[in-house]
Subunit: 121 residues, 4 copies
DNA sequence: GTGGTCTAGACCACC
DNA sequence: GTGGTCTAGACCACA
């Protein structure tokens, strides 16, 4: 998996980000059942308590809900997912704009450069 | 200064990046003289050898040149500086595009979102 | 070994030249593994950092590449090696021509003398 | 003048070489009178005794001869000069051939390369 | 004073 | 064990 965790930031925090990404991008589709905490923990080579903490936070955000007996599920409320997706994307975009500004590019130039590089790909 | 150096990547590498930024953004204009190695080192709270290494690499890239007795100078060749600026910007843009793709946005959507968030600022 | 280093020019520079020669002449064949930095340093009676610097420069030139845990290797790209060989030879030849000119020999005379002395050998 | 003397080899020896060169290349023509020892010494920023020693050696080789009252003269025997020129050139050529061999060029290749580089000049 | 070089010795990540 | 990084402190040439 892509669980490469770095020791520079709290691990549970990195887990949250990566699971969010998997939900947003559809790797874990709305309404689907997640693997068990224990499985996810061993997969990420992480203590189950740490994984548990990450999942709890995601539950607080409304992205997940657990059914005591049958496991944890991704919310079926796609609006919540879309909001999460938008708020993450907004951060990414704002960071990007700031970096480009500090490099000396203004709004129009950013758009131009972006289109140009996208075409090259 | 803005020399906040993190232990997660080589210090000399972060120094290079930050000095590049100062040259590109005009904090150190073309042809201007930089502070002495020792001064820059103490300013960044770093060993002079580490600063020396960073500056040497920038010299290899053609962004700086040194005169043994009188100091180090930013190149007056603005083309080199523009090329450096472009290549850094290209990296930033490519990273950005990849992150947005992994969030599930395609080319057009990225542009739309970018314009929208830019207007809000 | 032939590591006779003279104090008139930077040691790391002389190390670079001599290692280049060993690569070009096939003492260190393409793709082969070099001794460890520490071994080469003690062999040349030089501080490991100095040897490290020489090897790093050769890496920048593309003549070597390093694998963090298993050692440093000569490039397998023989074109790079041939280019290096040619550029060194060019320098040698140009120096030679200049010395002969300052002795008062012109182009044709140099060739004649060269052929003559070569036959005597 | 071009008297740049380096501390790595005996100074009188370097003086000999340079005066030989001036004689061979015609800066001091056959039969011409040299400046006084004292003038040559101050010109080369060297102790007069050192210059004296160099000139004595050249006298032993027959390149110079001194007339007690009127100074030192370059020999008028051009054969001696030609022999000296040839023997120096021979050394230069042999050194050159050895360096090229150690780079992996054989006789024909050396000639080819030499012609090619000479044309580029 | 400037940049440049060198050494000695330490610590790190990786496998 | 490997290469890579960093520090502290020294000395040099140049002007």
């Amino acid at each position: 998996m892509n669980w490469d965790l770095k020791p520079d930031r709290p691990i549970y925090f990195q887990l949250i980000e990566q699971i969010e990404l998997k939900i947003i991008s559809g790797v874990y589709p709305p309404g689907s059942r997640l693997p068990s905490v224990r499985d996810m923990a061993t997969d990420a080579a992480v203590n189950p308590n740490t994984m548990q903490r990450a999942l709890s936070e995601l539950e607080n955000q409304g992205l997940l809900h657990s059914q005591r007996t049958s496991g944890r599920f991704v919310t079926e409320n796609e609006e919540i997912i879309m909001n999460m997706k938008y708020s993450i994307a907004k951060n990414v975009v704002q960071e990007f704009i700031e970096r480009m500004h500090s490099l000396g590019y203004n709004g129009e130039e950013i758009i131009t450069l972006l289109k140009q590089i996208e075409e090259e790909r």
